[in-house]
């Protein structure tokens, strides 16, 4: 280090404190919109950039530790930044910048929450997520986890006058806490009598037997899965995301779900020294089911934010598929392949943060412009909101996994990892895993379907409501935030090699192997995960060739023929009457999926009969798991609490008897 000793951990701590300070500053002038949106939020965005830059540099450095004597007397906070934390801090920083910039333009006065209150909740949310990534002991981790859950709960119920929002927030908080219990128990098992709860202790000790390690892993999967939206603990996602304001949904989808991925990786690869192969298969299977479930339900949604929420479930499933593969490979000592699978999973985390945030922010712009969330009342917005529409197109193409954008890179890496599985020692796995690759390919194709529906119904076609003609485009800070994220999507897609190189340090830390050498073997232009003869892909050449051909053809046609255009009515096969109600609705677009995959849905239909006075048709598509799992569990919980509620009589005599009985018992047994 030439002339400064820049210690990344100190800078990160500084940024966390800065965010908390920004939040507190918001409380000073709560209703002053200009102050919050022009000063505080952009400052938060700048801090995000600084965080990302610091963490990026820190990824290739050694791990740094620090002990802060806050917290309880005997439990100081341990903080540590290593390659894994640094990667997720980069993710947080970049996403937070885009969302903060957007929020600066999006926040309005007159909502249920005052701007200052939103500011404090928002910055506390960001600060707690950053703390999770640098926590080095179980105590600080849980404190930060809880803070994140609470601050996001308050953000979710920003429109607390609406009853549906409140119940969505309640469900969210409930499942978050159920998951937190799982994580706490997992830390308890991992600590295995080591004395304290620091991660260093957990790394050093081994749980007593393979059985206990499995218990720890299953608890981690349960706990972190609840936060990530893994089946069957996913029910909060499609409720909470639509209820929250769009920038909050963006951060929740883009960053908060990744804290669960971070936790799972930390526990599995860092805190536990060995992995058992069937954990990987279980994670892979769960991830596959989650991904399929998410995309199928996304295809039948009619609310644009619910559609994106289910799509988040799908993407979390894909990340878990990658992690499951990595665990399986590692358990069979195939380290290079495990590194490839892990790189695919982490790259997908980063990609998802960018394109999901972008899409949620786009829905925010649309919502502000039109006041409509239902897909059945939108349409034709590309004419009145061109900037938003074109940036949304980038996001849509990215999330559908199309080259040369970023979604395709992680899909490509993941499919490459799948094709290497025939080297596994177990013959059942050898045959089942390619079948899983088939299901994964199906998921990718379905996500293209879903995104065509999303983009086409909102932005293309004719407007389905008259008021849509008055929709205004995004301005100022909103535009800046969207541009930042869209640029990220394009850059991550076209120049993936530097990122993969940096991810090499993460995989080296977690698995002990890296694919960085082979990846750069053919230069920065091509990705060659194993050897160039095996597979290679160059997104930049893609982009350049397609752009060159487009330009060339355009010029040639103009040169040889002409470029004249006439406007007229749409042909429509000669039908004279064309109204906006004749184009496909969102339900119509999802109908083939509903028909083919009928078994997955619980469809309730009311079909009109000829004898109805006022016939109507209604169809509701719901989640079966809600009725199979959540409702019975809720009933059991209610009954149990009813029995225990018997204890509560309301009469002072009874309570005094309770105290007396306890005293007697203690005197008898605790001599």
């Amino acid at each position: 280090m030439p002339w400064f000793e820049f210690i990344p951990l100190n800078i990160v701590i500084g940024i966390i404190l800065f965010w908390i300070a920004l939040g507190a500053a918001g409380l000073i002038a709560q209703s002053n919109l200009h102050y919050v949106t022009r000063i505080l939020l952009p400052a938060g965005a700048a801090a995000g950039v600084a965080l990302a830059a610091t963490a990026f540099a820190a990824m290739s450095q050694e791990a740094a530790l620090c002990v802060v004597p806050l917290g309880l007397p005997d439990l100081p906070f341990h903080l540590r930044i290593d390659a894994l934390s640094a990667f997720f801090l980069v993710l947080l920083g970049l996403a937070a910048t885009g969302v903060s910039l957007f929020y600066a333009g999006y926040l309005r006065a007159g909502e249920d929450n005052s701007p200052g209150l939103t500011c404090v909740q928002y910055h506390l949310f960001l600060a707690s997520i950053a703390t999770i990534f640098v926590a080095d002991d179980g105590y600080l981790f849980m404190v930060a986890w809880e803070t994140m859950a609470l601050s996001s709960y308050f953000l979710v119920i920003s429109n607390h006058r609406d009853a549906k929002t409140r119940s969505a927030g309640f469900l969210y908080l409930l499942i978050a806490h159920v998951g937190a219990i799982g994580i706490l128990l997992c830390f308890g098992v991992l600590q295995a009598g080591g004395g304290d709860y620091t991660f260093a202790t957990m790394r050093a000790v081994e749980p007593a037997s393979a059985g206990w390690m499995t218990v720890a892993y299953l608890l981690a999967l349960f706990g972190f899965g609840a936060k990530a939206g893994l089946l069957p603990l996913h029910a909060w996602l499609p409720e909470a995301h639509p209820a929250a304001p769009s920038p909050v949904s963006a951060l929740m989808s883009g960053v908060m779900l990744k804290t669960a991925i971070y936790g799972l990786l930390r526990v599995t690869f860092d805190l536990m020294n060995t992995q058992i192969w069937w954990w990987g298969v279980l994670t892979l299977a769960l991830g596959l089911v989650t991904a399929l479930f998410g995309v199928l339900f996304a295809a039948v949604q009619t609310d644009m934010k619910r559609l994106l929420a289910y799509s988040s479930i799908e993407n979390v499933g894909i990340v878990l598929i990658g992690i499951g593969l990595a665990i399986t490979f590692r358990a069979f000592n195939m380290h290079a392949l495990a590194a490839l699978a892990l790189v695919a999973a982490l790259y997908h985390c980063l990609n998802h943060a960018f394109f999901k945030c972008l899409l949620f922010l786009v829905t925010g712009s649309v919502l502000h412009a039109t006041n409509e969330r239902s897909l059945g009342k939108l349409g034709g917005l590309i004419h009145t909101m061109p900037v938003v529409a074109w940036l949304a197109l980038i996001g849509t193409l990215a999330i559908a996994g199309l080259p040369p954008l970023n979604g395709f890179v992680s899909e490509w890496l993941l499919l490459q990892a799948f094709l290497l599985t025939p080297g596994l020692p177990n013959s059942y796995l050898n045959m089942l895993v390619p079948v899983a690759a088939a299901a994964l390919a199906l998921t990718f194709a379905l996500s293209g379907y879903v995104m065509v529906k999303f983009y086409g119904v909102i932005f293309l076609g004719q407007p389905r409501e008259d008021k849509l003609k008055d929709a205004h485009d995004a301005r100022g800070f909103e535009r800046l935030g969207l541009l930042w994220l869209a640029a990220g999507c394009v850059l991550l897609g076209v120049l993936p090699v530097p990122i993969i190189l940096q991810l090499g340090s993460v995989t080296t830390q977690l698995i002990g192997a890296t694919i960085s050498d082979s990846v750069v073997a053919s230069g920065w232009l091509f990705i060659t995960p194993i050897v160039p003869e095996r597979a290679s892909y160059s997104p930049l050449i893609f982009l350049v060739v397609i752009a060159a051909v487009v330009l060339l053809v355009f010029l040639l046609v103009r040169a040889f023929y002409h470029g004249r255009v006439r406007r007229g009515a749409a042909w429509d096969c000669g039908f004279p009457l064309q109204t906006s109600r004749m184009q496909d609705t969102a339900e119509g677009f999802g109908q083939p999926i509903k028909q083919i995959f009928e078994l997955f849905f619980r469809i309730e239909r009311h079909v009109p009969t000829p004898f109805d006075r006022a016939p109507y048709y209604q169809s509701r598509t719901e989640d079966r798991l809600w009725y199979w799992l959540y409702v019975p569990v809720a009933r059991v919980a209610e009954r149990l609490s009813g029995w225990i509620g018997v204890l509560q009589r309301g009469r002072i005599h009874i309570y005094l008897i309770y105290s007396f009985a306890t005293l007697i018992l203690l005197l008898v047994f605790a001599r």
């Binding site: 013959s427 045959m431 079948v435």
Partner: protein
């Protein structure tokens, strides 16, 4: 891939057999089922001929002849006459829809392949890797029997199962002793006759060949 050419041909025949078993599972018309069954017999005959030629076992030639006469000519002709007289050329109805049936079929194929791998390792014939396919086609035919509602596809499933067993025998032990072979052939022929008689009886009693009607025979 340095197997001798005859081994490659046998592998090809095996995969054709599996393809036909899957095709039978997805058919909707009884007439196509009968043609596929005839094709399956032809593939079986060709396979036996190749094994006979490459391993020099003359009794397999007779086996192939019997297969040709019985399974490619006589049985399909009998079945064709049966359905013409019963007048049932319509669509095959299934209990569960065809895509799900295919998925279950794939799962059975994976199961059968994994079952066969350890056995294939200590068999000594050149056709040992085809045991998995033979087991798979037996299981698929069984699945076809389970998931059909009319009686004729069930019979065809039974016959296809016997085809699969025959293929399994050829692949691991170069065929069965001639006596066993003739006995099984006779059993199959007689069985088909009896089935034909039963079909008429069922049709007379219930006026339809839907086997769910047989449930009415139980006492309660």
């Amino acid at each position: 891939m340095n197997l001798p050419f005859s081994a490659q041909l046998i592998n090809l025949m095996a995969s054709l057999l599996l393809l036909i078993a899957f095709a039978m599972l997805s058919q909707r018309r009884i007439l196509s089922l009968i043609y596929l069954f005839a094709w399956q017999g032809a593939v079986l005959c060709a396979n036996t001929l190749i094994v006979a030629w490459s391993t020099g076992q003359p009794h397999l030639y007779y086996s192939a002849m019997i297969t040709l006469v019985l399974k490619v000519i006589i049985l399909p002709w009998l079945l064709h006459r049966l359905i013409v007289r019963l007048n049932i050329k319509w669509d095959v109805e299934t209990m569960i829809n065809i895509p799900i049936t295919m998925l279950i079929g794939i799962a059975l194929v994976i199961f059968a392949f994994n079952l066969a791998l350890p056995i294939a390792q200590w068999a000594e014939t050149i056709t040992r890797s085809t045991l998995g396919i033979a087991i798979a086609s037996v299981l698929l035919s069984f699945l076809m029997m389970i998931t059909r509602r009319k009686a004729v596809p069930q019979v065809i499933g039974f016959l296809a199962m016997e085809n699969g067993l025959f293929f399994a025998a050829t692949s691991t032990t170069y065929g069965m002793p001639m006596v066993v072979e003739l006995g099984i052939a006779l059993d199959v022929l007689v069985g088909t006759f009896i089935f034909g008689i039963f079909f008429f009886q069922i049709r007379e009693t219930f006026d339809s060949l839907d086997i769910r009607n047989l449930e009415k025979l139980k006492e309660d």
